[in-house]
């Protein structure tokens, strides 16, 4: 049942009795710093919902209803957003883009005994010590190490690590990269910038004059093009690397010609030849095109963002868990998640370890293909 073009079927055909509806909460930012990324992740979830709008429990078909809340990428708004989901009676929660808000809401979901499945939040603290939080993507220590290995293998020895002060994702990933890179024998120059910064020229000038041969700059989608362009302006010709957030087509559009030799670790490869991935990419692209609002929320392009794929997988994991649990009860679903195995479009999405992290042992390294203005799959990398 691929790509049914109609959007959320549930609200348009309200179920006759509420007893055969199961609600899934989407806890994502639609505004604030991470609003754009959150919307893309949500798109993946909505598409997944359109693909699989029902689930069978105890032989009875249940309609899945999505309940979306905007956590505004802000910890202080996160509490009420999470509470809103709980109040709406969701059985399981998906999200959030941005680890901070996930950490902030973790305890609330745990207290309400509702399992949450993180799609792209890579900070270790999201799941740590929280029996109700799971995650289907890899973690920052893994990702940082992967990129350090990749850089070192390319023969690069002096890295600049540029992180956004105050942003735990950026600082954390930079930290793990530095650690791994130094362990391998490389040297690191660290630099930080403040949230909302647009002018990197001075920073870049100093990094270039320090003689670095690679720049690792995990940062937000907005900062990425600025960093790439201003690094090139300052005379940095070596590779520029980053983490998963950079896999977003608007970066290519905005950075233009400067985006050569850009490498990043990604969750997903749209050109993956596996049947599941192919089907997803085709279906999702069609679905995006069918509605202007969807396109707008995807930054105006039809590219498949990694977080959308993860969003899709997260939804599918949730459905699998519900089916395995054969219950709408949060704790039952949580218990089902623990032993669950699920292979999604981004690889193994379950087989959770004791923290609740999926057994993802592989990252996709991609580079920017300037000619086609897309991300090009380069290799998979894992840490041995």
């Amino acid at each position: 049942s691929s790509g049914s073009p109609s959007s959320s079927a549930a609200p348009s055909n309200p179920p006759s009795s509420s007893s055969n509806v199961i609600k899934i909460g989407i806890y994502e930012p639609a505004s604030g710093m991470n609003g754009a990324g959150g919307k893309q992740e949500t798109l993946g979830m909505r598409y997944a919902h359109s693909v699989k709008p029902t689930v069978t429990i105890g032989g009875k078909e249940y309609t899945v209803e999505l309940v979306e809340v905007d956590n505004q990428s802000d910890n202080s708004k996160a509490v009420s957003a999470a509470q809103q989901l709980i109040t709406s009676g969701v059985s399981v929660v998906l999200g959030s883009y941005g680890s901070g808000v996930s950490i902030a809401a973790g305890q609330i979901f745990a207290d309400a005994k509702i399992p949450a499945i993180g799609a792209s939040c890579t900070n270790p603290q999201v799941t740590e010590g929280n029996p109700y939080y799971f995650r289907i993507c890899f973690l920052d220590p893994f990702q940082g190490t992967v990129m350090a290995n990749f850089a070192y293998e390319k023969g690069l020895r002096k890295a600049a690590v540029l992180t956004e002060a105050g942003d735990d994702y950026s600082v954390g990933l930079g930290h793990y990269f530095s650690e791994a890179f130094k362990k391998l024998g490389g040297s690191v120059v660290e630099a930080q910038f403040q949230s909302g910064e647009t002018d990197f020229s001075a920073t870049m000038a100093s990094l270039v004059s320090a003689g670095v041969d690679v720049l690792f700059a995990p940062s937000s989608i907005e900062s990425a093009p600025l960093i790439i362009k201003q690094a090139r302006n300052a005379g940095l010709t070596g590779p520029i690397m980053a983490g998963d957030t950079w896999e977003n087509e608007t970066i290519i559009t905005n950075a233009g010609d400067a985006a050569y030799e850009v490498y990043l670790s990604a969750f997903f490869d749209p050109n993956d030849t596996s049947a599941a991935a192919k089907e997803f990419v085709e279906g999702y692209t069609e679905w995006l095109k069918a509605d202007n609002t969807r396109l707008t929320n995807n930054g105006g392009s039809t590219g498949v963002a990694g977080v959308s794929a993860l969003g899709y997988d997260a939804y599918m994991v949730a459905i699998a868990a519900i089916e395995a649990a054969q219950s709408t009860d949060g704790t039952a679903i949580r218990d089902a998640l623990i032993g669950l195995q699920h292979s999604g479009v981004t690889g193994e999405c379950a087989s959770f370890d004791e923290n609740g992290d999926a057994a993802k042992d592989m990252a996709y390294i991609k580079t920017i293909d300037l000619q086609n203005a897309t991300f090009k799959f380069l290799q998979t990398q894992s840490i041995s």
């Binding site: 509490v79 992180t163 105050g166 949230s195």
Partner: protein, 365 residues
């Protein structure tokens, strides 16, 4: 005679409120939107009142409130995280430097004291400044504090850019209400005391106040430190409410939000600040949420509704309130039983309303 009657009314009202809170606390409503909003409203009310003490009563235009909340929140979190949890919280800093943990109440008071202490330090140079100059200096101070806390070098204490969590939080809805009520009560008593009148005289006319023998530096400092103390306590409670705290959210946007609450409630009205805190939080985080989701009426998609629309509508609501209630919901008035009695006694409250209308159309100079 009247006083006694009003006191009775007040006690009854307080008891009713308390009963309602206890009822919520002991029912399934405990984990509900209502309860969440009430908690946050109570905390914001304290912060708003503390800002009002400064802006509304002393006439010191400060934009540093988020900075003092940040100091309070971090002080509380740093001092109260249980020792055994520190290694996982300070994951990049080997468990951090602080290796003890204090009781909640001590943490709360320390939060206020640290905020007040920093207020004292910054107050020495900047309180001499006038209006907008003071505003920008305090705003700048808040930014400096935030940058310092995020500084990796201080990481062993502040955890740098990373989130602080696992500190003790409250379990009963009554806690934030009790703390806020006590603190706001103190502010009200202060405003009504001779010192409070001195604060108001500074707002009215600094030169005349000084000519009346009021030491400007000293009294401004008192107001500033007191306000920061309560902002610090409010920040600590916000941390408890969120169960985690991270410096990057204590930006000037947060200060503006609190300023909005103060002005919407009425500059110089404590009751106004309290009422508007609850309304503001409910409106921004609860009542309008439905606007973010797509809705279908009889199978037809309601236009415009999609994520982000709530914030657009919310901005418009703010504008409408500001434009139509120019002096805020309460103006500079306070809640008083006298006014309510008068309102009820007037036939259908018409007269009172008429008077109100007259007030609104007053030509001001």
């Amino acid at each position: 005679m009247k006083q006694k009657r009003y006191l009775l009314y007040s006690l009854v009202l307080a008891a009713l409120l308390l009963a309602a809170l206890i009822a919520i606390d002991n029912s399934s409503l405990k984990s509900s939107m209502l309860s969440t909003i009430l908690q946050k409203g109570a905390i914001y009310a304290l912060v708003a009142v503390s800002l009002n003490l400064l802006n509304g009563f002393t006439g010191l235009f400060s934009l540093g409130q988020a900075g003092f909340m940040l100091l309070g929140a971090y002080t509380y979190a740093i001092l109260t995280i249980p020792v055994e949890a520190r290694s996982s919280v300070y994951q990049y800093f080997n468990g951090g430097l602080v290796q003890f943990s204090l009781p909640v109440v001590v943490g709360l008071i320390a939060a206020g004291l640290v905020a007040a202490f920093f207020a004292f330090l910054i107050g020495l140079p900047v309180l001499r400044l006038k209006s907008d100059y003071l505003a920008i200096a305090t705003l700048g101070f808040a930014e400096i504090i935030r940058a310092l806390i995020q500084w990796n070098t201080l990481g062993p204490i502040t955890n740098g850019s990373n989130i602080l969590r696992k500190f003790p939080t409250y379990s009963s809805l009554l806690f934030p209400f009790a703390v806020s009520a006590v603190c706001i009560g103190l502010v009200v008593l202060m405003i009504r005391s001779s010192y409070g009148r001195a604060f108001k005289s500074i707002r009215e006319d600094e030169i005349a106040a000084e000519a009346m023998g009021i030491n400007l530096a000293k009294h401004k400092m008192m107001a500033f430190c007191t306000s920061s103390f309560f902002a610090g306590v409010g920040g600590a409670m916000l941390a408890m409410f969120q169960q985690s705290v991270q410096a990057k959210y204590f930006t000037s946007a947060m200060t503006y939000e609190i300023l909005l609450i103060v002005v919407i409630g009425g500059i110089g009205s404590v009751t106004g600040s309290i009422i508007s805190s609850f309304l503001f939080v409910a409106c921004s985080e609860w009542w309008l949420r439905f606007l973010d989701a797509q809705h279908y009426i009889g199978g037809v998609k309601v236009p415009l509704l999609r994520s982000g629309f709530r914030m657009v509508v919310f901005s418009i609501v703010i504008m409408v309130i500001v434009l139509f209630y120019r002096r805020g919901i309460m103006g500079t008035n306070e809640f008083s039983w006298g006014a309510i009695e008068k309102f009820i006694k007037a036939p259908f409250g018409r007269k009172a309303r008429e008077e109100e209308r007259k007030k609104v159309t007053t030509p001001h100079e």
